[in-house]
C-alpha cells in the first residue's frame, strides 16, 4: 500500500508547471495541497534534507534552477529511490527538450504528460531506462 500520491512541479513563485494526481482529490483539495507543498518546500535551504514530512506523508523534492520537483509518498517509502527517480525524470526531460527550461514545460505541457506517463504510471515507477523512454518518445514524436 505504498505508492506516489502526486507529483508536482512548481516554480519559486508557486506557479504549478505540472500536477499529476494518483489518487482522487477534489479541486479545492488539490489547490490546498499545491499551496501547502509550496510553503513547506520553499522555506528549506540547500543544507536541509530533500525530505519533508507533510501531513501523514512525505514530500521528496529536488530543486533545479527555479523549479521544485516534488513527489508525495508514504512516510516509510524509500526516500532515496524517489529522489533519484526525480533526477532520472529530469535527465529525460533535458535530453528530450534539448536543454530543458521552464517554458518548455509550459508550452509543451502535453508532451510533458506523455513523458510522465512513460516513466510513472498509477503512482508507480513504470520505466527507468532513459534509453528506452527516449526511444519511445522519439517514436511518438515521429507520429505527429
Amino acid at each position: 500500500r505504498v505508492w506516489i500520491r502526486f507529483i508536482l512541479i512548481q516554480n519559486r513563485a508557486g506557479k504549478t508547471r505540472l500536477a499529476k494526481w494518483y489518487m482522487q482529490f477534489d479541486d479545492d483539495e488539490k489547490q490546498k495541497l499545491i499551496e501547502e507543498v509550496h510553503a513547506v518546500v520553499t522555506v528549506r535551504d540547500a543544507k536541509h534534507t530533500n525530505f519533508v514530512e507533510f501531513r501523514n506523508f512525505k514530500i521528496i523534492y529536488r530543486r533545479y534552477a527555479g523549479l521544485y520537483f516534488c513527489i508525495c509518498v508514504d512516510v516509510n517509502d524509500n526516500n532515496l529511490a524517489y529522489l533519484e527517480a526525480i533526477h532520472n525524470f529530469v535527465e529525460v526531460l533535458n535530453e528530450y527538450f534539448h536543454n530543458v527550461c521552464e517554458l518548455d514545460l509550459v508550452f509543451n505541457f502535453y508532451k510533458v504528460y506523455t513523458v510522465v506517463d512513460e516513466m510513472f504510471l498509477a503512482g508507480e515507477i513504470r520505466e527507468t531506462s532513459q534509453t528506452k523512454v527516449l526511444k519511445q518518445l522519439l517514436m511518438l514524436q515521429s507520429l505527429e
Partner: protein
C-alpha cells in the same frame, strides 16, 4: 539543464499557437489576462458551434487550447464532447490530446463515460501498441469504478497474452494495479495470476519493474496466491546484485545496476516472512551480504546520483533485514553500516540513518548495538540544522532508551527542550514524561523530571502529563513527602507556570501535612504561598485551588479561620463564575457545619487510582499514529518485564469504593476520564501493517457474515477465541469484544488494540474514531476478558478497522490481526416510504455517479425469506409492495455520519433462472453507493 540562462521567449516559437495566451511579460495585469482568455474561449466556443464541421486538426488545436487554459487555472465547461470525438481519430496527436483532456478533466464531467469507454475498448482491441498504450494510460489515470467494471476483465488478458508488446505489458500491469486499488472486488483472481508471477523472469527489465509493483500490491492482500513470487524475486535480485555495473546496460544508473527494480524486489520480499526453503534463504542472505559489502567498496563515481542509487538499495535491504528480524549477524552489520552514516557529511544520509536505526532499536538482536551510538545521536540533537533531522534524533533516543541510559537520555531531551523548535516541543514533552515514568527506579527523580518539564515548557505540558504525575504520587506513598517538598520549593519561584500551580495545589492539598512540621513550610506558609498565585490563575485552576483550601481546612484546623475569611470574601462568594461561586458557598458551609469526623471522611485523602495504561502514552500514540508507537512500546514493554521488572503497578484498591467525595469534584475532574486509551485516527504507520508487526504480515479478514449481523464469533485459533456483540445507533456504535483464553496457561502482556485503517483519501480525512480502554494485561487460562470499543463514524469509509492483538504465551510472543466488522452499513437507519415517494426519489438520484450497479451470480440458494432477513440485517428498511415486480426487493435508509447524512435507496432484482442478481444502489454520494453495493453484493 533548467538553468534558465536562455531568454525564455525565444522558446515559445516552437509552440506559437499557444503563445498569445501565455504572456511571459509579468507586467500585464490579471484582468487583462482574464479578458484575453474570455475572448479566446468565446472564439473556441463559436468554432465548436459553427456550421462548418471542424476537421480533426482544428478540433485538436482548440481542445488543446482549452486544456491549456484549464491548466492556467481557469474553469472550462465545454469541449468535452469534442475531446471524446478526438478519441476515435486515427491520428496519434489527435487521440493523445483527446485522452489527455479526459484524464485531466474527467472528474468534473463523467456523463460521457460510456462514450469514452467505447473508444477505449476500440483502442485496446486495435492491436496498435501506441493506441493500446494511450488507452491503458487513460484507464490508469482515471481509474474510476465504471472503468474497472468495463475493463477489469480485459486488462489481465492483455497483460499475459503471448503477443503483447513489452511496453504495452508494462502499462497493462500498472493499469491493472490502479483498478485493483480502486475496486479490488472487480478484479477477479484467476489463471492470469500465476502467469503474472512469472513476469518476474521476463527478459525486459521494464516489464519486471512494472510487474513487481503489481505483484507486491496483490501479494499484500493475497499472500498465499503469490507465494511463488518469493523465490523468483530472490533469484532476480541475485542476478542483479551480482552483475557487473555494465551488464544491464540501459538499466544501469550511474554505475548501479537496476537500482529501482532492486528496491521494488526488496519491498516485495517484505510482504513475506524469511523464505522457508533453505536454498532460497541462503541465496537471499548472500544477496543482502553482497549489498552490505558493496557499501564498503570505494565508490565508482563521485556523483551524488551514484551514491544515492546505491544507498537506496542498501536502505531497502536493511529494511528487509529488520523486517525478517531473524539474522543477528545481518542485523548487527546493518546497525554498523547505519552507524557510519550517522556521521556522514550528507544530511540526507544522516537523516535516513537515524530513521532506519529507530526500527532497528526495537529488535532484540540489535538493540544493544544501536545503543552504542548514543553519543552521536545526542550530538545530532545539538548540532543538526534541519529540524526534521533533529526530530529523527529525538525519535531514535526515545527508541533506544532503556533502564541503563534513561537518566542520560531524559536529561539530554530536557536540555534540548529549552531550545527546541516549537513544532516538536509537545511531542518531546510527552516522550520525556513517558520515559521518566517507565524507567523511574527512583520516583524522586521522576517528580523532579516532570517539574522540570513544567518549568521549561509549561505551555506544552498537556493535561495528561500533569494528571499522570498526580496519579503516580497518589499511588506511591514513598514519594509523597518528597513531592510535597519539591512542589513547595518550586512554587517559591516568583513566576511559575500555571501547570505548576495546579500540580502544587493538588499535591499540597493531599500531602501538605507531610511537610507541615518544618516551620518554613508550616500550614499558613503553604496556604499563603498558594494563595499568592490564586489571582493570576484561570478559572479552572482557581477552582482546583479552592478544593485545596477546603482540604487544608481538614488537614490543618489552625488555618481554618484564614481560609473561611478567604471563602467569605466577595471575590469568591459573589464571583461571576458560577463554578467558583458554588464552590466557595459549598466549601464555606461545609467548613462551618460539618463536624471534624464528617470533614475527615468527606475530605479524605484520594484513594489510589486504578492502574491503567499511561494516559500520556495514549496521547503520544494519538499524536504519532498508533503503530509507530505500539511497535516500539510493546517490544520495549516486553523487554522491561524480562530484564528490569518494570515499576510495579499499584494494585487497584478495592476500598476505592469511597470514591472521590462530592466535596472535591473539580480537582479530580478528568483525572479518571482522560485515562481512556485514545486510538483516534492519526495513522501514520497503520497503512503498512506488515511493518508494524513483522512476524505476521497477514490480516485475517473478519468474515463478511458480520455485514448483516452484529453478534457472533469473530476469530478462533488454538489459543484464542474472539467473540463480538455490538450495537449501533445513528453515527455511533459500541462493540463488546470478548477474548477467551482457550488454553490452561496465562496470557501475559495481553494488548488488543483496534486501529482504524486509512482508505485511499486518508491524506485528508478521518473517517472513524475508535475509543477503548486497555484490558487487564494478564488473562488466566480458561478465562475471558471483555473490552468495550466506542465507535464514531465521522464520514463514509471503505476500510474496516483492524484489531491487533499481541500477547505472550508460554514464552513466545503472539500476534493476531483481525478485521473488525465495522462496515459503513452499520450506520444505517431504516426509512419507511411509500411507493410513490420511493420512485420519486429514485428518479432524483439519476446522475450516473449516484448509481452503482452490480450483476452477480448467486452464491447461496435464492430464498426469499433469507434475502429479506439479510436486507433488514443490512440496516435498511425493507419496503414491501413498492416495486411493481413482487419478486424484487427494495429498501431505503439513511447512512449517518458525523459530517453528513446520506439517503440511500436500493433495489435487488433476482433472476431465478440465471441464478443471478442485479443490485442497484442510489445515493447522493458516489462513495457511499459504491461501498454499500460492494458490501451487500457479498451477501447473496
Amino acid at each position: 539543464m533548467l538553468a534558465g540562462s536562455r531568454p525564455g521567449v525565444g522558446k515559445a516559437a516552437t509552440s506559437r499557437r499557444l503563445a498569445p495566451l501565455c504572456s511571459p511579460s509579468p507586467g500585464k495585469s490579471k484582468e487583462a489576462e482574464i479578458k484575453r482568455i474570455n475572448k479566446e474561449l468565446a472564439n473556441i466556443r463559436s468554432k465548436f458551434k459553427g456550421d462548418k464541421a471542424l476537421d480533426g486538426y482544428s478540433k485538436k488545436k482548440y481542445v488543446c487550447k482549452l486544456l491549456f487554459i484549464f491548466l492556467l487555472g481557469h474553469d472550462i465547461d465545454f469541449g468535452h464532447m469534442e475531446a471524446v470525438n478526438l478519441l476515435s481519430s486515427n491520428r496519434y496527436t489527435e487521440k493523445q490530446i483527446g485522452y489527455l483532456f479526459i484524464s485531466v478533466l474527467v472528474n468534473s464531467n463523467s456523463e460521457l463515460i460510456r462514450l469514452i469507454n467505447n473508444a477505449i475498448k476500440n483502442d485496446l482491441a486495435s492491436r496498435n501498441p501506441t493506441f493500446m498504450g494511450l488507452a491503458l494510460h487513460c484507464i490508469a489515470n482515471v481509474g474510476s469504478r465504471e472503468m474497472a467494471e468495463a475493463f477489469a476483465g480485459e486488462v489481465p488478458k492483455i497483460l499475459v497474452a503471448g503477443d503483447t508488446m513489452d511496453s504495452v505489458k508494462q502499462s497493462a500491469a500498472l493499469c491493472l494495479l490502479r483498478l485493483y486499488r480502486t475496486s479490488p472486488d472487480l478484479v477477479p483472481m484467476g489463471d492470469w495470476t500465476s502467469r503474472v508471477v512469472h513476469l518476474l523472469n521476463d527478459q525486459h527489465l521494464g516489464v519486471v519493474t512494472a510487474a513487481t509493483s503489481l505483484i507486491t500490491t496483490l501479494a499484500q492482500k493475497n499472500p498465499e496466491e503469490f507465494k511463488t513470487s518469493v523465490s523468483l524475486a530472490v533469484s532476480r535480485l541475485s542476478r542483479i546484485v551480482t552483475s557487473a555495473s555494465t551488464d544491464l546496460q540501459d538499466y544501469t544508473y550511474y554505475f548501479v545496476p537496476a537500482p529501482w527494480l532492486s528496491v521494488k524486489l526488496l519491498r516485495l520480499l517484505q510482504c513475506y516472512p524469511p523464505p522457508e526453503d533453505p536454498a532460497v534463504r541462503g541465496r537471499l542472505t548472500e544477496c543482502l551480504e553482497t549489498i552490505l559489502n558493496k557499501a564498503q567498496e570505494p565508490p565508482k563515481s563521485k556523483k551524488v546520483q551514484h551514491s544515492n542509487a546505491k544507498n537506496a538499495v542498501l536502505f531497502e535491504a536493511i529494511s528487509l533485514i529488520i523486517h525478517h528480524d531473524s539474522e543477528p549477524n545481518l542485523l548487527v552489520r546493518a546497525c554498523n553500516q547505519l552507524g557510519q552514516f550517522l556521521q556522514h557529511r550528507e544530511t540526507n544520509l544522516r537523516y535516513l540513518a537515524l530513521e532506519s536505526m529507530c526500527t532497528l532499536a526495537s529488535s532484540e538482536f540489535s538493540h544493544e548495538a544501536v545503543k552504542t551510538h548514543i553519543d552521536t545521536v545526542i550530538n545530532a540533537l545539538k548540532t543538526e540544522r534541519d529540524v526534521s533531522v533533529r526530530q529523527r534524533a529525538v525519535d531514535l533516543l526515545y527508541a533506544m532508551c532503556d533502564r541503563s541510559n534513561a537518566q542520560q537520555i531524559v536529561a539530554e531531551m530536557l536540555s534540548y527542550l529549552e531550545t527546541a523548535d516549537y513544532s516538536i516541543r509537545e511531542e518531546i514533552v510527552l516522550k520525556v514524561a513517558i520515559l521518566a515514568e517507565k524507567y523511574a527506579v527512583d520516583y524522586a527523580w521522576y517528580v523532579d523530571t516532570i517539574l522540570n518539564l513544567i518549568r521549561i515548557a509549561g505551555d506544552y505540558v498537556s493535561e495528561e502529563v500533569w494528571y499522570r504525575v498526580i496519579q503516580i504520587v497518589i499511588n506511591r506513598d514513598d514519594v509523597q513527602g518528597y513531592a510535597a517538598k519539591t512542589v513547595f520549593e518550586a512554587l517559591q519561584a516568583p513566576a511559575c507556570h500555571e501547570n505548576l500551580v495546579k500540580v502544587g495545589g493538588y499535591i499540597l492539598g493531599e500531602f501538605g501535612n507531610l511537610i507541615a512540621g518544618d516551620p518554613r513550610s508550616s500550614p499558613l506558609v503553604q496556604f499563603n504561598l498558594l494563595h499568592s498565585k490564586f489571582h493570576l490563575c484561570s478559572v479552572p485552576t482557581r477552582a482546583l485551588l479552592l478544593s485545596t483550601y477546603i482540604k487544608f481546612v481538614n488537614l490543618f484546623p489552625e488555618v481554618k479561620p484564614t481560609i473561611q475569611d478567604v471563602l467569605r470574601g466577595d471575590s469568591q462568594l459573589r464571583n461571576a463564575d458560577v463554578e467558583l461561586q458554588q464552590r466557595a458557598v459549598e466549601y464555606l458551609r461545609l467548613s462551618t457545619v460539618a463536624s471534624t469526623d464528617i470533614l475527615a471522611t468527606v475530605l479524605e485523602e484520594m484513594p489510589p487510582f486504578p492502574e491503567r495504561e499511561s494516559s500520556i502514552l495514549a496521547k503520544l500514540k494519538k499524536k504519532k499514529g498508533p503503530s509507530t508507537v505500539t511497535d516500539l512500546e510493546d517490544t520495549k514493554r516486553e523487554r522491561s518485564v524480562d530484564v528490569n521488572g518494570g515499576p510495579e503497578p499499584a494494585p487497584a484498591s478495592a476500598s476505592a469504593a469511597v470514591g472521590p467525595s462530592p466535596a472535591v469534584p473539580a480537582c479530580c475532574d478528568g483525572l479518571g476520564n482522560n485515562l481512556l486509551l485514545f486510538c483516534s485516527l492519526m495513522s501514520r504507520g497503520v497503512s503498512q501493517p506488515q511493518r508494524a508487526f513483522p512476524k505476521h504480515p497477514r490480516i485475517s479478514a473478519g468474515g463478511s457474515e458480520f455485514v448483516c449481523k452484529n453478534n457472533g464469533v469473530l476469530f478462533e485459533n488454538q489459543l484464542l477465541q474472539i467473540g463480538l456483540k455490538s450495537e449501533f445507533r445513528q453515527n455511533l456504535g459500541r462493540m463488546f469484544i470478548f477474548y477467551g483464553n482457550k488454553t490452561s496457561t496465562q496470557f501475559l502482556n495481553f494488548t488488543p488494540t483496534p486501529v482504524p485503517r486509512c482508505g485511499l483519501d486518508s491524506l485528508t480525512r478521518t473517517h472513524l474514531n475508535l475509543q477503548t480502554k486497555p484490558v487487564d494485561p494478564t488473562v488466566d487460562g480458561g478465562a475471558q476478558v471483555q473490552q468495550v470499543v466506542n465507535i464514531e463514524c465521522v464520514s463514509d469509509f471503505t476500510e474496516a478497522p483492524v484489531l491487533n492483538i499481541q500477547f505472550r504465551y508460554g514464552g513466545t510472543f503472539q500476534n493476531v490481526s483481525v478485521q473488525l466488522p465495522i462496515t459503513l452499513n452499520k450506520f444505517f437507519q431504516p426509512t419507511e416510504m411509500s411507493s410513490q415517494d420511493f420512485f420519486q426519489r429514485w428518479k432524483q438520484l439519476s446522475n450516473p455517479q449516484q448509481e452503482v450497479q452490480n450483476i452477480f451470480k448467486a452464491k447461496h440458494p435464492m430464498d426469499t425469506e433469507i434475502t429479506k432477513a439479510k436486507i433488514i440485517g443490512f440496516g435498511s428498511a425493507l419496503l414491501e409492495e413498492v416495486d411493481p415486480n413482487p419478486a424484487n426487493f427494495v429498501g431505503a435508509g439513511i447512512i449517518h455520519t458525523k459530517t453528513s447524512q446520506t439517503g440511500c435507496l436500493l433495489r435487488l432484482e433476482p433472476n431465478l433462472q440465471a441464478q443471478m442478481y442485479r443490485l442497484t444502489l442510489r445515493t447522493s454520494k458516489e462513495t457511499v453507493s459504491q461501498r454499500l453495493c460492494e458490501l451487500l453484493s457479498q451477501q447473496f
